[in-house]
Symmetry: C2
Subunit: 713 residues, 2 copies
């Protein structure tokens, strides 16, 4: 952790737990942000002292007001700046002088407005560095800590949310108000609630680490418009999961190109490609959510219920139709309907009427009252084949909705398995739903959401059980050799490596290439071909030639020395005839690779996440089906294997349709070496091995063609 | 339309618009169905006379009660039977004697309980036929007509819903209560509301035709657990769309195998394969919905707003984040962000503050009040490049939510373009949302739903503009020849046709096969091969041999008469050696088909929808990617073309990666002929052309292998 990051962790303590707060720029004008902030803290029943700073006023409400921060006679833990952006730097400078290290800058008018705003943002960052200040913002809604020991709402949110175990961080301030309103209606509580705006100093990553350490927080939620440091975000997520098992849920907007450009126009951020973001989140164990409702559906499941041990659910319903719909969604999400034990079936058969369905989904029938629900719940919870229970209710005329809700609360307290509920409808079931929510039983208006939440928590449980990915070691590499080739090329002003150079480069990292030698005369051809080993392939090497085949620059399947000489002659004369101006570096002779399955390996650099490895099967699979997978480098062995298995066409490699299984282990090795190459040499901006020819199990794979692009200069 | 179907249409008039109703089996015991039904009609303020029938009572509440239906002195339009199932048949018999033709049977205890219930259901159907009675049910919740001229709630729903333009039909009674509750909370009104239960007499199709004619109904909604007559359902949907342009939205549960089996256990119905159902619905123009919320999201869009002319939306928001999320969902749903005209941009620039985003999505900024929303809406509605408007609001401290809601209502009344809204949050925005709902402006809590609803209405608009599919005519077929082959095979007790027979059969319908002749001696081989035309393929024909190649039963690429004789000899001796017991019918000589793209055509019979055609590209595309499409036969030319274009691998046929485009027209012709064959000959239960080899554009296609399965007996 950098010095500054460590400082942030220290200063965040006082941002969230201040005993004294200066509101810098406070005023008494209703409908203004400074007023809202002050009333927020006052009405939130803050457990500390407030010092309004307001030049030209002696008091605000009943509080004594100060002209400047430095005038305050006592020490101050937290400064909240609400002055206009044009004077924010002066306020921050005074905080520095006063010794305030923890600051929230609500004021807008910085980077997000461009022009002078960018300068102003630089200026406040410099001041913060000068005084070892850490600040949240600018251009944010502020922060909330619901801890009863503190109770601070230093935000212009309309209300203080309930206390709870969900920590919420948002890049968008406006979204926060909608989230708070939504959460209040659903009875969802928060531990910490932060709008971090332009994140000019304290970033989402710093805040995530704070929530990792925060004992009140069980689930970490993040709304993000821009990933500024992908690897840091991934590392934070991995650390949090590994050290504290807290799940991390992120909404990352800008999924589509248009969405990303809307995000860019509004925050001045550049969104990376969305598929890569998906892959990176998956790799880091981050749960990506589509929208706010989706996020809280999953968050409440984590916050309220234990993680299921496996995926076998029991469904209890008083109406067949919703039971069927829920089954559909459960199966679609990869869950299983639990098969009940004989004991359970016996109990259900005895307790339920004849017309009830005693198999899963259990239909207690429309006239069921609370006792029937109770018996059914008790029976399925007890069953060892059940990992979780979905309780569905439709409001029939006989249904005692509130009593059933209370029974759900009562019965589930006895068992350490998750229960999720769906009381269908709105008005009639409202009070029942409120009972569930007050007792922290997750409730879903849609069966989809219920099944998805279960599937996500189950997946997360599996992730926790997995051993952390092993660091790769012992790849025999010749880093120096690789460096030399790259430096030479860059000195020569090349950005595109010739095949023979590219081949040599990847060979230095142990990537599988067949033997290849560059020659520049006919007389070498035969001898070199023999040395390489027949059959050979001969290809012209020229920076001026884009498509070698089109100019007769490639000869395949050469079996004798004589043929090799003839081939050399034929290549050179054909190229000279068809593209006379092309400068020829020579002819590259390689051993011909036997037939196998063609796959593609690629390396790109993503602006947010850095080096990204791509994998797919050759030809139509990539081009027509876009059947590809991504991972951010460096990868662990298991991750490499997963990225191969993730493409649909993996079945072909595994030996579908009676084919021989291909050497997947060899692809894994190749990916790991490529990953290492990507990490060691940032000068490589793009690399394509197309195709990598994969032979049968145990026979390896070989790069048949390599293209490498270097960054300029 | 059958006689009975016509009768239903006539009798449904009095089911929905009765001037007098007999409640047969009424009682005064609270908490029972008979009581709920009677109170439902009473509290619904029915515009007609009620006659309770209740043996052993002189009156119920203040109403005179009758011992038997036949005792009622006046004519009765509608009978609602609430007696137990064991006496329902007697009540129905009496309705017949009394001359009541329109009946609703609420009583449960019929087919759904199995055993005697099945008999009882048969019995009441017989009585209905005897007296020309039409009935809804049994085992249903009843029906509701909100028309102020009638106002009847003959159901055990807790409340009479508001009047509106949505007609709702449901196979599940339990779901109805949840739907009514949901609709009430959202202010959604209904024209007719029907729970049709076991549909022993009047089916969902009859009810759909009634809603087609019903002037109060603009949108037809259907919840279905079992499609009993797929073709009839498809025809009804097509008729309704073609004649009245009313959209049809259906939830069909049982999407997964497990879901289907849950449905089967609860209604005793057999669900067909879900992909086929998807295809059939699409073909018929039916909009398939996933769940109730999805259905009403789309239904309100149809009911409240005009259908958009195209897919270009303008988004207005007071917060950037939600604007980005909405853009993402819009693009994902295939919508476009409208590019504003210069005029619009000018107006927005003038009216909005500097920090606002005047491009689409328009961000009026967090401090916007109603006037800013009004200006922005007016500007974008006016713009010719805008087909519809999404208005998004987050509750900031300055936001005058209710005023903005009123402005949305006011402004949109001036324009004939759809507006959809999303006021984010819950409590704070509740009154604003209510204003929107009361004024029939669609409101969505999620941007996904908003974008999906727009996309669906847009697609439906496109469907309405399309000319109805042309009937196929002029396929030269030899129906008699085909019949002969089938009959001969069936007489011989065969269910599986030999390749030479199958080839002859499809040839009779003009499907493209190469010339082929069956021989049974070596000496014929040369001569016949010449007649067929070299190169030829020779394949053994034997019902006992499953895989011809494995026993040496296939010889390819035969170029001379001599080779043909040798091949015959080699085939026979090889087969005799490897499978001595196999009875050999002969050797089938066909002209060899040149190389081309391999596709698969198939025919299956679905229990719900009848003959279904399947299409896909050969090999991995079908087996690994399941990249296949279905259509219910008979197909129109355009539908055949669409089913080809629908598979992802279509790009290969169209000429991806520099290949020659293939003869897609020839595949279309082949599909149409296969469709005709499927319709004409129900004895064919399965047919596979695998592969159909497709040559370059203009060169046709040829069936290289055909398998046909006939039904037994």
């Amino acid at each position: 952790m950098s010095d500054r990051a460590e400082l942030h962790q220290k200063n965040l303590e006082k941002i969230f737990n201040p005993q004294s707060v200066a509101i810098i720029g406070a005023n008494q004008n209703k409908g203004t942000v400074p007023f809202d902030i002050l009333s927020g803290i006052l009405s939130g029943d803050f457990n500390g002292v407030i010092y309004p700073v307001s030049p030209g006023r002696t008091h605000i409400s009943v509080l004594k007001a100060y002209k400047y921060v430095v005038d305050i006679e006592d020490p101050v833990d937290l400064g909240v700046i609400v002055f206009p952006s044009t004077v924010t730097h002066m306020a921050l400078e005074q905080c520095g002088q006063k010794g305030i290290k923890s600051v929230v800058i609500i004021s807008a008018g910085f980077r997000e407005v461009g022009g002078n705003g960018i300068e102003r943002e630089k200026q406040i960052v410099e001041i913060a560095h000068k005084y070892d200040i850490s600040f949240i913002g600018p251009n944010c809604l502020g922060m909330i800590n619901t801890d009863p020991k503190v109770r601070i709402n230093a935000s212009f949110a309309r209300q203080m949310p309930a206390a709870g175990s969900i920590g919420f961080l948002s890049q968008s301030g406006a979204l926060c108000t909608a989230v708070l309103d939504y959460a209040q209606a659903k009875g969802i509580g928060f531990s910490k609630f932060v709008s971090f705006g332009n994140k000019a100093d304290i970033s989402e990553v710093d805040l995530m680490y704070y929530l990792m350490r925060d004992e009140k927080t069980k689930v970490v939620l993040l709304y993000l418009e821009e990933v500024s440091d992908g690897p840091a975000l991934m590392k934070a997520a991995k650390d949090i999961i590994e050290l504290t098992s807290k799940p991390i849920l992120i909404i990352k907007s800008g999924r589509t190109e248009e969405g990303a450009s809307a995000a860019a126009s509004h925050t001045g951020s550049l969104a990376g490609r969305d598929e890569i973001c998906d892959a990176a989140f998956q790799q880091a164990g981050i749960i990506r959510c589509d929208h706010i409702e989706d996020m809280f559906n999953i968050a409440t499941a984590f916050a309220y219920e234990p993680i299921p041990l496996s995926n076998r659910v029991a469904i209890i319903t008083n109406a067949g139709g919703p039971g069927v719909l829920t089954t559909d969604t459960a199966i679609k999400e990869g869950l299983q309907l639990a098969c009940f034990s004989k004991e359970t079936t016996k109990v259900l058969k005895k307790a339920l009427p004849n017309t009830a369905n005693i198999n899963n989904p259990v239909d207690v029938i429309g006239d069921a009252t609370a006792d029937r629900y109770e018996t059914a719940m008790d029976a399925v919870f007890r069953d060892e084949n059940v990992d979780g229970v979905f309780v569905i209710l439709t409001p029939q005329s006989m249904t005692d909705i509130d009593t059933i809700a209370h029974k759900v609360v009562e019965v589930t307290q006895k068992y350490d398995k998750p229960v999720y509920t769906s009381f269908m409808g709105e008005t009639d079931v409202a009070s029942g739903i409120r009972i569930l929510q007050q007792n922290q039983i997750p409730h879903y208006s849609l069966p989809e959401s219920m099944s998805k939440a279960f599937a996500v928590t189950h997946q997360f449980g599996k992730l926790l059980q997995k051993a952390p990915a092993q660091k790769i070691e012992g790849i025999a590499i010749d880093q120096l050799k690789a460096k030399e080739i790259i430096q030479q090329a860059m000195e020569d002003g090349k950005t595109f490596l010739q095949e023979y150079e590219a081949t040599e480069l990847i060979k230095a990292y142990g990537l599988p290439v067949t033997k290849g030698i560059l020659i520049s005369s006919e007389k070498e051809a035969g001898q070199v071909a023999r040395k390489v080993g027949f059959p050979v392939v001969m290809k012209v090497q020229s920076l001026d030639i884009l498509h070698k085949v089109d100019v007769g620059g490639v000869q395949l399947n050469i079996l004798t020395e004589e043929d090799a000489q003839l081939a050399y002659h034929s290549i050179i004369s054909s190229v000279q005839e068809r593209q006379p101006e092309a400068r020829i570096q020579g002819v590259f002779i390689t051993r011909q690779i036997p037939k196998g399955e063609e796959v593609i390996l690629g390396l790109k650099r993503d602006p947010s996440f850095g080096p990204v490895i791509m994998f797919g099967l050759g030809g139509i699979f990539v081009e027509i089906f876009r059947d590809i997978s991504f991972r951010v480098a460096p990868l662990a062995r298991e991750e490499a294997f997963e990225m191969i298995k993730q493409v649909k066409a993996y079945k072909i490699l595994a030996g579908a349709r009676g084919r021989h299984p291909k050497d997947v282990e060899a692809i894994v090795d190749t990916i790991l070496k490529l990953s290492q190459l990507a990490v060691d040499h940032p000068e490589i901006t793009e690399l394509d091995i197309n195709p990598l020819i994969v032979l049968q199990e145990g026979k390896g794979c070989f790069a048949a063609d390599v293209k490498i692009l270097l960054r300029e200069g």
